[in-house]
Amino acid sequence: MRHPTRLIPLAVTLLACAFLLVPIVQSVLAGLTVNYFRGLSSGLTLKWVGEVWGLYASSILLSIWLALACLAVTLVLGVPAAYALARRPGRAARVLEEFISLPLAVPGLALALALLQLYGSYSGFRTSWAFILVGHVLYTLPFMVRSVLAVLAAIDLKTLEEGAATLGAGPARRFVDIVVPNALPGILAGALTVVTLSIGEFNLTWMLHTPYLKTLPVGLADSYASMRLEIASAYTLVFFVMIVPLLVAMQWASARAQRILS
């Protein structure tokens, strides 16, 4: 028998969902209606989405490019770093592990300020996309290292490597044949996290960007400030279409990596 009080949690949950979803749905609809002030009755259109593409295509492409470059750099730096940390049981390695995570504790704005102070005077570098990339790598690297390290710490890496060594595999072969394949779930989860964070990053990027180098979220802020509401809303829609599948994939990959850990 269902008592009315049992329905209260359900109602609260639904309300909370509505609280989150209604603005999103409204914003998405605004980007698809012909005239927002006359409402849905004015009809639906893809015109605004097209205009967003016309105005901000470079931002969208820059973000994708930055995310991929950031992924490449964090893979090249993060996987060997996690491996080195996993192989060293000492105290020094644990301290280093905390040190790598430090950028997580520092607000993006502070990180950006530090980068500007350090490199601001190298104008060639300051105005290139590589400058933003450095910020993104600093911000996302801890996520890659942590994710790979968690998986490596859960397997008996030392014995597996010793097994490969007795069969004639040198250090490089062991890394390629044993370490990387067994760390793959962690690498995948880390990679999706890095791409998602890089595409969505605003605080740090906003400080580092130049008028000619706007990323997706920076462009979004720009469109809110200077474009008509329908265009800004259509931009939100574009942003969602890019980020939501990434978020879903990230959830799936972390759940998969978690299964290995347990």
């Binding site: 008996d156 597996l160 007795t166 069969l167 004639g168 595999a169």
Partner: protein, 343 residues
Amino acid sequence: MTLSLSRVAKTFAGGTKALLPTDLTIAPGEILSLLGPSGCGKTTLLRIIAGLEQPDPGARVLFDGEEVTALPVERRRIGMVFQSYALFPNMSVRANIGYGLKMQGLARADIDARVDEVTALCQLQPYASRAVTALSGGQRQRVALARAIAPRPRVLLLDEPLSALDAALRGQLRDELALLLRSFGITAIFVTHDQDEAMAIADRVAVMRAGQVAQIGTPETLYRNPTSGFVARFVGGAMPLRGRVTGDHLHLPGGALRLRPGAAGQQVFVRAEDIRLDPEGPLAARVEAVTFLGTHYRLALSGAAPDLLTALHAGHSAPRPGEAVRLSIAPDALLSLPAEDHA
């Protein structure tokens, strides 16, 4: 391959002397077992031979006269079966077995042929394409063995390969493993702390104690002519008979036993199977407990010696707990050995 070790020792970073300077020579095709209690340095010695652990300066490891002490493990051409098997979870059974051959740079067809051969030898054909995570403990053990022998190593090293299995399976696989190792005909070193395993598999057994080889010899030698009380106890479970030796007699609380000449100042040991129930026997004892073991009874006896003695009694009936019995022990069955520094 002839394997020789000279002055091989290992002191760990914390100062633990896991292995004291040890010399050892193993003939081609010989199967040697390292037997000893936990922590006596068996794994350390095996890992030094493999090249997974660096010995203290001054040590020399020779493979057929060639010095390999400084050679890294991947260039020593050894095969190793780990206690935990260390199978690669990212590879199938076949890929695991073929990994060493791939590292040797063999052609695809040669690898396949050799993997087929070894798979058949180890009776793994039904599982060849499975993931190693989908195997039972006994099957994993055989994959680990197949993987180690596939590249035809110069020496095969096994670290307690049966200890991860349950008792029933262990007994069965012990005999299988003994047969397989004989059929490979390669030099092998086998670590165990189970004397039955060592006896069943090895040509010679090295009994280790606290980082040293206490005695090395064939299973029969170790059993019949142990050179120390430790070996007598560890191999065949000999029990000390603490008493006073005068002339050729040993005086115990339950009576006096005749000894072979020359036992003065030595400690006397006896094995459970050499104690007989004998109404005319010189020793008086009391039965404390009786366990029926199918082929015989195991009796716990008090009063004959200061410690409780265990006797094996074959026959259709046994005395009951509490009964007084008399025992005899043939002088030839008493082992007189140098007194142990600690008992």
